[in-house]
């Protein structure tokens, strides 16, 4: 294949914005987007609530500076302040840009883009399109990429970076339709494959494919991961499936109730109540459950998200998807009765370590969106900042790669290397004596993570988690692939995804074990307070000689001094 200037892995918000921006920056470049699903299926579509931007449409006195402060405070001061500056300053522009391209935002009475309150935000600054914001943004970006003639390789599964020394030669990927392992020699590669929170499996709100493929690829190539231990639990997952009920439901006025009918958030965040930041609200739910104030059911303990007082009209017009989901997956109509909820693993703050221009330590390799970690979310992401992150840093990645592509040469990827990859991925197809089923391993991984590396963490639990993961990795060597065909082998794909999750799970557990403090989403029962003297720094996890190796990186400070974080 002819070498590319830029190969973008992932067709969600970050990947598509990167593609558009790269084409805009230099129309002469040869750019390709690879995605394991059709881009319009990407998980960006599941983001319901909205994207934050200090447009000042709803609250005239809102400012970028307030957005910056809310984000830094929300991050429990682990975000890099210069990166947050970029995120929030670019926000109004990028939301308007999307609007100008055709995103159907909901509107206020003065015909400007509508905004609503969201957790941890001092002003109503979350721009939305009813409760399908991510879906409509993704549609807009996909439409615009089709308009611009972006070259898509749909249903290609990225396997590895091909690396020579400290340089990338490009990407190796499997064409799902043919089972062929193909080379994508490229000057630059942008990894934008989304998050890794699906490793919590049934206790995760994520799509089945959010398996951290991009992070795992980078990790295996020796690129450090940053702050992997910070996994956000969303307070309101549906009890049975872990699927998400957007924070918008609380933004519109929903109550969280325990089995005594009490609005228990009064105990934990008397001012913000249900609209406290996610980590705090999740811990509050978990505490209520642990202290016996949850409801009991065979599917586990849960609490109530009550929308009944909002009325049928508001629920139908502003939260139609929520209503549909809770009817489809819980058999509950929120107009009539409260929705059964419990916290669910939702977002990975950690990711591939990048600078503010999305560069990784490897020449020509960039990462953006949930796949990367700049970091703008620090120890805890605010609702409405993830869509913003993928847009802002997706665009920056596209621009940076386009500007820097000329500096690098596309390496060559040999037939031998492709063959080696092919043999490796198909290794599990040989019948052997004892074998393991990937479904069971995957489920066990989710269980041990939720139990031992979950909302409340503790040294002995984490130790157990680390041992479990090591054991699962050992058992994975015997995993059997039952589908031996070349054509659209989803069995093989799921096994490869499991491998990625296992590799990354190790970094999450290692980071969590090392960090002896509580900060943001990371709560250690044995170290219940934030310890700025020892731990106000990023965790790096790098693969060295087949082992997770811990490192650190200072947090970039700015105008805001460390403060206690209360709501």
């Amino acid at each position: 294949m002819k070498p590319f200037d830029i190969v973008i892995v992932g067709g969600g918000g970050a990947g598509l914005y990167a593609a558009m921006e790269a084409m805009k920056t230099n129309p002469a470049l040869n750019i390709a987007v690879l995605s394991k699903v059709y881009p319009n299926r990407s998980h960006t579509s599941a983001a319901q609530g909205g994207a934050n931007a200090a447009l000042g449409n709803k609250a005239k006195d809102d400012t970028v500076e307030m957005h910056i402060f809310d984000t830094i405070k929300g991050s429990d001061y682990l975000a890099d302040q210069d990166a947050v500056d970029v995120l929030c300053s670019e926000a109004p522009k990028i939301i308007r840009e999307l609007e100008n391209m055709g995103t159907p935002w909901s509107r206020l009475e003065d015909n400007t883009i509508a905004q609503r309150p969201f957790g941890g935000a001092g002003r109503p600054r979350c721009c939305y399109c009813s409760d399908k914001t991510g879906h409509t943004i993704l549609q807009t970006l996909y439409e615009q990429c089709l308009r611009k003639g972006v070259i898509f390789f749909n249903e290609y599964f990225a396997l590895n970076l091909s690396v020579s020394g400290s340089c990338s030669n490009g990407l190796i990927a499997m064409n799902m339709k043919t089972g062929k392992v193909e080379a994508f020699p490229a000057k630059t590669v942008i990894l934008a494959t989304g998050g890794y929170a699906k490793m919590y499996w049934n206790r995760s709100s994520n799509a089945a494919g959010n398996t951290g493929d991009g992070q795992a690829i980078a990790y295996r190539a020796g690129i450090p991961m940053k702050d992997m231990e910070f996994v956000q639990f969303h307070p309101t997952g549906l009890r049975k499936s872990g699927l998400l009920v957007t924070e918008g439901a609380r933004g519109e006025g929903g109550y969280l109730l325990n089995k005594d009918g009490e609005r228990f958030m009064a105990r934990y965040a008397p001012e913000k109540m249900e609209l406290g930041p996610r980590d705090l609200v999740s811990r509050s739910l978990e505490t209520e459950i642990l202290q016996g104030r949850g409801f009991d059911s065979p599917a586990g303990k849960y609490l109530h998200l009550d929308l009944t007082h909002l009325g049928a009209d508001l629920i139908k017009s502003r939260l139609p998807q929520i209503r549909e989901m809770s009817m489809n997956f819980e058999g509950v109509d929120p107009i009539e009765e409260p929705i059964p909820v419990r916290p669910t693993a939702h977002y990975s703050m950690g990711g591939i370590d990048t600078d503010n221009q999305t560069r990784t330590i490897m020449d020509g390799v960039y990462a953006a969106g949930e796949c990367g970690c700049v970091s703008v979310h620090g120890a805890n992401r605010l609702g409405g900042n993830s869509l913003l992150d993928i847009l802002v840093f997706g665009r920056i990645a596209g621009r940076t790669a386009a500007e820097e592509a000329g500096k690098f040469r596309p390496g060559t990827i040999s037939e031998a290397e492709l063959n080696e990859q092919l043999q490796e991925v198909r290794g599990g197809m040989q019948a052997s004596g004892r074998y393991e089923r990937y479904g069971e391993l995957r489920e066990e991984l989710g269980q041990t993570l939720a139990l031992n590396v979950g909302i409340f963490r503790e040294s002995s639990l984490l130790q157990k988690g680390i041992e479990d993961i090591a054991e699962l990795k050992e058992r994975f060597k015997k995993v059997r692939i039952f589908d031996t065909s070349d054509v659209f082998n989803t069995n093989l794909m799921q096994v490869l995804e499991l491998k990625n999750m296992l590799d990354l799970a190790e970094t999450v557990a290692a980071g969590a074990f090392a960090r002896e403090e509580s900060r943001g989403s990371h709560t250690r029962i044995d170290f219940p307070v934030r310890d700025d003297a020892k731990w106000h720094k990023h965790t790096l996890t790098t693969l060295v000689n087949g082992k997770v190796t811990l490192g650190e990186k200072p947090v970039t400070m700015g105008r805001y001094e460390l403060q206690e974080r209360t709501y």
Binding site: I94, G102, R107, Q139, T490
Partner: protein, 344 residues
């Protein structure tokens, strides 16, 4: 284990999933495999298929991603009807199943088959490109990001429902025109075209419409409503198709294409007689020459074989035609007013 033990008090049912199988590498033609598993209330078709794949037969192939009804990956035909496997409850399907205890699972129709339940979506993407299913903004790229377009709630509501489309292609699979003509634009693409055409930010209305009125385009729909009935997001797709047609006549005139002429002939007949004058309809739609060459031989054959009666020499008006005409005019006036207010 994927199947939860929740609500076990309600018991389990043994359900046989009759799954369409085809692997182009080894199979000369498709066949069905039966998998019988116990299923509780509350379990979806997708969770059942996941269970079969993980525990019984790893080679059963289907797409699935979000598992929450928003990504559109897992659309397939369940007991003959195209829908999302992830939002379809097994017990609900069973209650309506013709064969007790059996659920038949097949790939979508009207798209090329790849393997088992997986079809090729590329043709649909190709049509989205062909019909410019995007906004070509009136704002120059260099100006973007500086200020918002001001858009009324009323305009937003015009395309709000249409933007619910997740491109699952259930409507594509159910479309009766596509079964006969794979080149037909497709309901989803018409829906998206409509969504773009009523957006005041768009600058390529004329160009898109010029493509839509050609063969295989907006006039080929026969109003069977199957797209709308099968839409997993309950989008009124036919309203969008009607909207595009009204738009086509308004912007390009009544005599633009055989499609617009056909629609116009309908209107004239209904106003005059209260019913259709079918014998002359093809002439008014496609002209005398076309009718003589293409339709007359078949009509003659049908009459000879008594499949259709001879056309009556004179078509009488329906009873109460005068009252009907008043109603008809009021209605058309109302529609015109409505269109005007939309334009604002």
């Amino acid at each position: 284990m994927t199947l939860p033990t929740d609500q076990h008090t309600e018991g389990k049912k043994n359900v046989t999933f009759r799954v369409f199988r085809f692997n182009p590498q080894v199979d000369s033609k498709p066949y069905f495999d039966d998998y019988t598993i116990p299923v509780e209330r509350g379990i979806t078709v997708l969770r059942s298929l996941n269970y079969i794949k993980e525990h019984i037969d790893g080679s059963v192939s289907f797409r699935a991603f979000c598992q929450a009804g928003i990504c559109g990956s897992c659309s397939m035909r369940v007991n003959g009807l195209s829908q999302l496997a992830c939002t379809t409850q097994v017990w609900d399907v069973l209650a309506k199943s013709r064969e007790p205890g059996i659920i038949k699972v097949e790939p979508l129709r009207n798209l090329p088959l790849i393997k088992d339940l997986i079809v090729d979506m590329d043709p649909l993407v190709g049509k989205m490109v062909h019909y410019s299913n995007w906004i070509d903004s009136t704002m120059p790229e260099a100006q973007m990001g500086k200020k918002e377009f001001l858009i009324s709630e009323e305009e937003f509501l015009r395309y709000d429902k249409a933007t619910d489309c997740i491109l699952c292609a259930s409507c594509v699979s159910e479309c009766s025109i596509l079964r006969a003509n794979k080149e037909y634009v497709s309901p989803a693409v018409l829906l998206k075209s409509y969504r773009m055409s009523v957006d005041s930010r768009d600058s390529m209305h004329e160009q898109r419409m010029a493509e839509l009125v050609k063969d295989h385009g907006v006039w080929d729909c026969t109003h069977c409503y199957r797209c709308q009935e099968s839409c997993v997001k309950s989008i009124p797709i036919m309203d969008a198709i009607h909207g595009l047609r009204e738009d086509a006549i308004e912007s390009r005139g009544k005599n633009d294409t055989s499609g617009s002429k056909h629609a116009e002939a309908f209107m004239t007949d209904i106003e005059k007689k209260g019913k259709l004058i079918e014998a002359t309809l093809p002439i008014r739609t496609n002209g005398v020459v076309w009718t003589l060459q293409n339709l007359l031989p078949m009509a003659m054959k049908m009459i000879m074989k008594r499949r259709t009666p001879l056309p009556p020499p004179l078509v009488k008006s329906v009873k109460g035609i005068k009252i009907f005409r008043t109603m008809f005019r009021e209605m058309t006036e109302h529609v015109k007013q409505d269109q005007k207010s939309h334009k604002k």
